[in-house]
Amino acid sequence: MGQESYSRTIEVHALARVEGEGGLTVRVRDGRVVGVELRIYEPPRFYEALLRGRHAAEVPDIVARICGICPVAYQMSAVHALEKIFGVAVSPQVRALRRLLYCGEWIESHTLHIFLLHAPDFLGFDSALSMAQANPDLAALVRRGLRMKKAGNRIMQVIGGREIHPVNVQIGGFYRAPRREELLPLLDELRWGRDAAVETVRWAAALPAPPWTGGYEFVALRHPSEYAMNEGRLGSSAGLDVAQEEFLDHFEEYQVPHSHALHARRRGNGTGSYSVGALARWHLNYDRAPHWIQHLAHECGFSVPVHNPYRSIVARSLEVLLAFDEAIALIENYEPPSPARAPVTYAAGIGQAITEAPRGILYHRYETDAAGIVRWARIVPPTSQNQAQMEHDLWTVAPRLVSLPEPVAALEAEKVIRNYDPCISCATHFLRLRIEQQ
């Protein structure tokens, strides 16, 4: 035996600055990485089981509780899936108001990640709170981020009553359409936010990103004319182009021993791992962004393809800019939907929908009976889909960690995960339940 033979484990017991509870392990033997695990130990909450027997009208409020950071995403995928069952066609005004609400959530969720969760990794702090106390420049940066976040939250408050678990979304539209006078006062702050978002793109693009080799299959919705949010076909950088209803034909979930969340894989793409979220969306949708925003991206050296997960912060920043820009236009052109809600006749059937949650595609499938009672529900959140890719990235980075001292190696491994803005609370609730037939 060589005297160099040794084993070592790089361990992060509790990942910080992510939503929900998880850890990771990198196992090294004789200087070689022999195993990586992203462990999700957040306890399951059995959403798919508890949705059985609920009335369709209750679903948007229930699924919002899957995630405090992206409740609108859950509400949007749910209402779109259920509307397909009931044959509901929403008005263009409802469609626009939903997009505005989603813009609010993208701004809130992305700025939370950019400034409070991700930035400390690039700048060498344990938190944005420490950054703010370090020097006046960083304090100004954090304040800017908080103010942008507040502007996004404000959109959700006006449309939805509150930013966490908003109360106004229903199948067919809204309980009450906000009046023009309620939305117009947001414009000044949103215009400030758009300028601040331009600054943020430049700042994020200048952050030092470690080099990265290796490619991804990016998966996102793609819409004929818009930057995809609530509608579109499912596309990938490897040429996938299918209807949302074909999701399960191309993607499958599987369980691994070390995680409370199902992994997902793309059928027939080798390793099966794929990437969803801002980086994937930008890759597949940048040509739908306004020209001046595309130009800004190029100018900042962020030209597609970008196969570097550390640069996801730039993609998120560009999407914040897009969302501010769109929110302004949507409010300027706002006509309150009247009625606020299209009529709904409950029916038996199966409906599926995908929308773009801040963290990537969010798939919902419901089966209802003639009275609109949910018989079966299935939800595939973005973080489950990114799990395999996160582990794949850990494999990629792990050889570099082997020679580093433990605390540094652990931090570097953690950064790999934070690049994905994982929402572990979301991912876990979907461990699928199976009824065993007697």
Partner: protein
């Protein structure tokens, strides 16, 4: 050299939850940095990469107790905390995941994972106060951030928080919102629901759906009679109470089916 007085140590923890209630703290965009200067945010995993160490003057904790590990964990957190404040419907009533508490035991046992051996979960999801003494429960799904700031301020100076326990109806009256149940015949849980949200739903022309849980002295059975008059079936009423605070005693007592399992007493975890 004069020594600065030590800052109070604040810890933010979570159990089974959606992270929304601790996010409420980060959503206090105007107050967050001032708070971080006033207190030492000594543990807050969602926002700060710092290990769990030492004791805390004030602990805020969201989420319900739903695994064997969490039963141990909450006892450890309690030992570290001078004041323990539970925040949100999961922590104060078991959350929506407590709907499994009502499931028929036999059926529940038949509901398994593809590989159930990978999963650890208790049969019931329960409030933190069912397991350890709690100094204050802040209601809501999610909590209201102004109430959260009030609770933090109060405990830091050692007074009781001013958080009214009356029903949502009072908030509607205060907001000048016309009663949706009286004027429009829309079923509303406002008369039995704890105040705190500012009566949001009636302001959006819908009935309150009870996300703040039962108000003090909630007369749920009396309201149920009124809901029947508005055309709701017993099943409809049961479902309306079977949401985020379903396991709160005042709500679960009234539901037609009633709890299928005996009520959990402090420390029991079966």
């Amino acid at each position: 050299m004069s020594q600065k007085p030590a800052k109070a140590r604040l810890g933010v923890f979570k159990l089974a939850s959606c992270d929304g209630c601790q996010l409420s703290l980060l959503d206090c965009e105007d107050e967050l940095l001032a708070l971080a200067e006033t207190v030492e945010i000594a543990y807050f995993l969602e926002a700060v990469r710092r290990p769990l160490e030492g004791e805390f003057d004030l602990v805020l904790i969201e989420g319900s107790v739903s695994t064997p590990e969490q039963v141990e964990y909450i006892r450890d957190v309690r030992r570290r905390a001078r004041y323990l404040v539970t925040i949100g419907a999961c922590a104060t009533a078991g959350g929506i995941q407590a709907l499994r508490n009502f499931a028929d035991v036999q059926e529940y046992l038949q509901v398994v994972y593809a590989r159930p051996d990978y999963i650890r979960s208790l049969a019931r999801s329960t409030a933190i106060a069912d397991h350890v003494p709690v100094d204050f429960e802040l209601r809501g799904c999610p909590i209201a951030k102004q109430q959260l700031l009030e609770v933090i301020s109060a405990f830091l100076v050692g007074r009781r928080p001013h958080v009214p326990r009356h029903s949502t109806c009072i908030e509607c009256k205060r907001a000048g919102t016309v009663c949706v149940m009286v004027a429009r015949g829309i079923p509303c849980l406002g008369p039995v629901t704890h105040a705190g949200c500012g009566a949001l739903c009636p302001g959006y022309h819908r009935g309150c759906y009870g996300c703040y849980g039962p108000a003090q002295d909630a007369q749920v059975a009396a309201l149920a009679g009124q809901l029947v008059k508005l055309g709701m079936s017993p099943a409809d009423i049961e479902r309306s109470l079977h949401t985020f605070n379903a396991w709160a005693p005042e709500f679960r007592r009234v539901t037609a089916r009633g709890p299928a399992l005996p009520v959990v007493s402090a420390g029991t975890t079966a």
